[in-house]
């Protein structure tokens, strides 16, 4: 087993005194059951009852968050879309499509963040507000990491363009600049605003030199003494060589131009052009990429990756991707300055700069409480063909493992399980098996939910699961006395055995009450009658009653006979069938022919001979007597009928 990456957290179970009693537990799909046992840790016997509750411990509470639900639902749509277009992705457009997918995921995260932010602000209870705010920061960190992964792994920006992307990345995640800008510009005298120089510095740090120039021109207008210096600095800003997206200049050209520009800035600094204005001087130093000057602005930079990007912008704008990690490590060290240690987020970003995807994913898995992020990111990177399929201990590759974990987490939820189904579908090795196990365990509270589950199983040819689910539902229906539902479930599952059970119930009801319940069902069985012999018998028996009711006596008679001779009647029912023959035999007209009467007699003797001998005295004896009487009456009636039939057939009119 691998060593632990971090100390496991301790969760206290309320009501259980873990010092005195032991607890037992059992794992479930996404949860754990814990309860107190009666074993004592010490030898003293405690007769005091302990905690009577069973606790369900759930690690993943995000699944139940109202706002994160949208994240799960939307990302499911994006995931399925990505799997579906996988076959069509070829050539040049592939990268663009994958970047688009990545941007979709990110926009979903941002939308969630926005909404949670609104809720955090509007929350009346400060504790809840804090909870939401921390969720917002987690989401923000997730988006930060994803964005960086997009730039480095999916977009795979080459040197030159890389820096532009990184600049965008940083600008996206520091949002106070825009509000500050609006603030300062909106004031009457922008250059006299308190935060004016702060704003200009931030703009320069972020590489937004055009806007910085605009601000400088305002300062130049306001104080003519520094107009000259502002103009020079503004010129420097304007002439800084930047790789623009559509530009065709090569990297070496850019390097050369940049070198020249750098030297010019250096010269200005040497000449003490900006000596009289400390603000302008520090701006110039920043633009030269002076580390000390940058570190002075730690507060404005706020984090080491901003420092990294600014530093790269002003000292190595043509940085190559493979060199990034050197600068990243040194930036982190310089920024933290030995005062604090790197946080998990910092480690993740460093791992990304080092292009160590596995490390990124591993660290994210540990740091985040939910598999959502790593599952989707890994899947996307897998589509970019970046993950070698190295097998984990459990036989499937990393992408599949993460997707399985995520989907299993979804199945613990009473309605998000439907999303989980699609995730299992796209796990080639263990997906189907996992789905088979999970889908049988979804609690079926309504028929509509059951129908959805069945539809999913049928679409994937999981006949075993269909049968077992239908059997559960049919059994429930029988218990609730809904025999029609039970029958329709057994028809759906083509479960002959259960259909037999239901028919037996109907027949039992008939024996007890003397009439059929649920005639609407039995009368209209249709071709489903063929599902089981017992069901066919039920249908035909009801038909017999109908014939009798409609006075179609010959039809009734031949049907009755065929019921008895065809062996589909259950043994327990024979006596009833025979008794049913009585009224037909007593009719004025001769209904049964001689042939049929012989058949009936044979059946009767067959039945009488095979009747079980009851050994217990008492009630059984009385029943036996009653039955014997009935059989005697039957024999008499049969004999009489035989006589009449023979006469009728023998005489001229009968032939």
């Amino acid at each position: 087993m691998e060593e632990l990456d971090g100390e496991p957290t301790v969760t206290l179970i309320p009501g259980v005194n873990s010092k005195k009693k032991q607890m037992c537990f059992d794992w479930g799909p996404g949860e754990m059951l814990v309860c107190e046992t009666s074993f004592n840790k010490k030898e003293e016997s405690e007769t005091k009852p302990g905690c009577p509750f069973i606790y369900i411990i759930r690690k993943d509470i995000d699944v139940y968050s109202q706002i994160l639900r949208k994240l799960f639902n939307e990302s499911h749509g994006i995931f399925v879309g990505l799997q579906r277009i996988e076959e069509e992705l070829t050539g040049k457009s592939r990268k663009a499509q994958l970047v688009r997918v990545s941007k979709n995921y990110r926009s979903v995260i941002r939308a969630c963040m926005e909404e949670m932010h609104q809720v955090a602000i509007a929350a009346k209870d400060p504790a809840i507000g804090r909870q939401f705010s921390s969720q917002v920061s987690i989401l923000s960190a997730m988006e930060l990491i994803w964005n960086l992964c997009e730039i480095l792994f999916i977009e795979v920006a080459p040197a030159g363009a890389l820096l532009l992307h990184l600049l965008d990345w940083v600008r996206l995640h520091v949002c106070e600049v825009d509000s500050l800008l609006a603030d300062v510009l909106g004031s009457e005298n922008p250059s006299k605003h308190d935060s004016f120089w702060k704003l200009v510095t931030i703009l320069v740090l972020q590489g937004r030199l055009d806007e910085a120039r605009q601000m400088l021109s305002k300062e130049a207008d306001a104080s003519p003494s520094s107009a000259g210096m502002c103009r020079i600095l503004g010129d420097l800003m304007r002439t800084m060589p930047v790789l623009s997206p559509g530009n065709t200049q090569t990297l070496t050209e850019l390097e050369l131009k940049w070198q020249h520009w750098h030297e010019e800035c250096e010269r200005h600094l040497q000449d003490s052009t900006f000596a009289s204005s400390p603000h302008l001087e520090s701006l110039c130093k920043i633009m030269l990429g002076d580390e000390a000057a940058l570190l002075e602005q730690k507060e404005l930079l706020n984090n080491w990756y901003h420092f990294l990007v600014t530093r790269l912008l002003y000292s190595h704008p043509t940085v190559k991707p493979i060199d990034l990690h050197l600068y990243a490590q040194s930036s982190l060290d310089l920024f933290l300055g030995g005062e604090s240690s790197p946080e998990p987020l910092d480690n993740i970003l460093l791992a990304a700069f080092e292009f160590d995807i596995h490390q990124v994913i591993k660290e994210c898995s540990i740091a985040l409480s939910n598999w959502w992020f790593v599952a989707h990111l890994t899947d996307l990177l897998d589509h970019c063909k970046l993950l070698q399929s190295h097998n984990l201990y459990f036989g499937s590759n990393m992408r599949e493992f993460l997707l399985l974990e995520y989907a299993s987490g979804l199945f613990a939820h009473h309605s998000l399980w439907q999303l989980g189904v699609d995730y299992f579908d796209y796990c080639p090795e263990l997906g189907r098996v996992s789905l088979e196990l999970h889908i049988e365990r979804i609690p079926l509270s309504t028929e509509q939910k059951a129908l959805k589950v069945l539809r999913i199983c049928e679409q994937r040819q999981m006949t075993e699961q269909v049968r077992s689910i239908c059997k559960i539902l049919a059994m429930n229906a029988v218990r609730n006395n809904r025999l029609g539902s039970a029958l329709s479930w057994s028809i759906r599952a083509k479960d002959a055995a259960f259909a037999t059970l239901v028919s037996d119930r109907f027949l039992k009801d008939y024996c007890e009450r003397g009439s059929f319940s649920d005639l609407d069902l039995i009368d209209n069985l249709g071709p489903a009658m063929m599902l089981s012999d017992r069901l066919t018998f039920l249908g035909k028996y009801r038909e017999f009653h109908r014939f009798y009711g409609e006075k179609r006596l010959t039809d009734a008679a031949s049907l009755l006979l065929s019921l008895m001779t065809s062996q589909i009647a259950p043994r327990s029912f024979w006596v009833i069938l025979l008794i049913d023959a009585l009224p037909l035999l007593e009719e004025k007209e001769v209904v049964f022919s001689a042939e049929q009467t012989y058949e009936l007699m044979r059946c009767l003797e067959d039945f009488a001979s095979r009747r079980p001998v009851w050994r217990e005295p008492g009630v059984q004896r009385i029943q036996e007597d009653v039955e014997n009487t009935k059989l005697e009456m039957l024999r008499l009636a049969l004999a009489r009928n035989l006589g009449r039939a023979i006469i009728k057939e023998g005489s001229l009119e009968g032939s």
């Binding site: 639902n73 309504t446 028929e447 959805k452 218990r479 609730n480 006395n481 539902s485 029958l487």
Partner: protein, 303 residues
């Protein structure tokens, strides 16, 4: 499991806990409050069911002041607003689950069940027997939804588990007038447009929502929607002829001469989603909800 507006302010909701609730909508602060509740409207009683076993209430239909609900327990309840108890209850109306209900005329309702039967019940009669039963011969496919034509009270559309749309004329025999092969999976809801009854909407487990246009006034039909959906024309199968019915009263749904009338079908949702569970339509607006917890709204149905 089902919702319907009772009047301008009140909404009746049927729940899977067997409870029927009337909510009152307060437009000034956009909230809902419970105005009335019948908690044990549907329940199971059987030798094996627990004494408090509740049964999901699957369908509700309102016609002020009456509310009719049906459930998995095969029971039909007739409630009146502001009456504490049910005015009339038909126990064991059906041995299987009743999936949906609609009013035919005010004292008559029509229910569909999971053995593929339509039953008409008349509340004026005593007793627990339906006044008429209609069904298909052949496979007993469960029927999940039903809706009555807004103007012609004898025309009813039902949707089944196999995605088949059937149009029935309840005056004429026990067979449907037409069977149209529609969706690939259960059809959850079917609705006639209340003011343009030549238009029908169906939604299904297969994730699609279809608009059926049977209007015959335009000789060359242009498609009404271009929301990126599929657009196809279907010929309807006719399985019984309509001889002897006045032409002027014939609804375009009942006249099923394949050569003359073609129904234009358009899919309204732009891409395949998870199951579309429910829809409603009024005027130019259509609302539907899917299993991916998304609600789609269009306000320009006939633009």
């Amino acid at each position: 499991m089902d919702l319907q507006f009772f009047d301008q302010e009140r909404i009746v909701a049927a729940s899977s806990t067997g409870c029927v609730t009337v909510f009152l909508h307060h437009p000034n602060n956009q909230t809902l409050s419970v105005s009335q509740q019948w908690t044990a409207a549907h329940y199971h009683t059987g030798p094996g069911s627990p004494s408090c076993g509740s049964a999901p209430c699957t369908g509700v239909v309102c016609s002020n002041p009456e509310i009719v609900t049906v459930g998995e327990d095969g029971r039909i309840n007739l409630f009146r607003a502001d009456h504490k108890e049910a005015v009339r209850t038909i126990d064991n109306a059906d041995s299987s689950t009743l999936h949906a209900v609609t009013f035919l005329r005010t004292p008559e309702i029509l229910t569909v069940n999971s053995i593929g039967q339509l039953k008409i019940w008349d509340f004026r009669k005593q007793g627990n027997e339906p006044s008429q039963i209609l069904s298909l011969t052949g496979d007993r496919v469960p029927l999940h939804c039903v809706d009555r034509h807004p103007n012609q009270q004898h025309v009813v559309a039902t949707g089944g588990q196999d995605g088949m749309l059937s149009i029935w004329d309840v005056r004429q025999g026990t067979m449907p007038v037409s069977l149209l092969k529609a969706h690939e999976a259960e059809m959850w809801e079917v609705h006639f447009h209340p003011s343009n009854p030549d238009h029908l909407f169906t939604c299904s487990e297969d994730g699609s929502l279809w608009h059926w246009d049977a209007s015959t006034d335009v000789p060359e039909k242009s498609s009404l929607f271009n929301q990126g959906g599929r657009n196809s024309t279907f010929l309807s199968h006719s399985i019984s002829n309509q001889a002897g019915v006045h032409q002027s009263l014939i609804s375009s749904w009942l006249s099923t001469d394949p050569a003359k009338d073609r129904i234009e079908i358009t899919s309204l949702l732009p891409s395949r989603t998870l199951s579309v569970n429910s829809l409603d339509v009024l005027g130019p607006c259509l609302v539907c909800g899917t299993d991916s917890e998304a609600i789609y709204v269009t306000r320009q149905l006939f633009s």
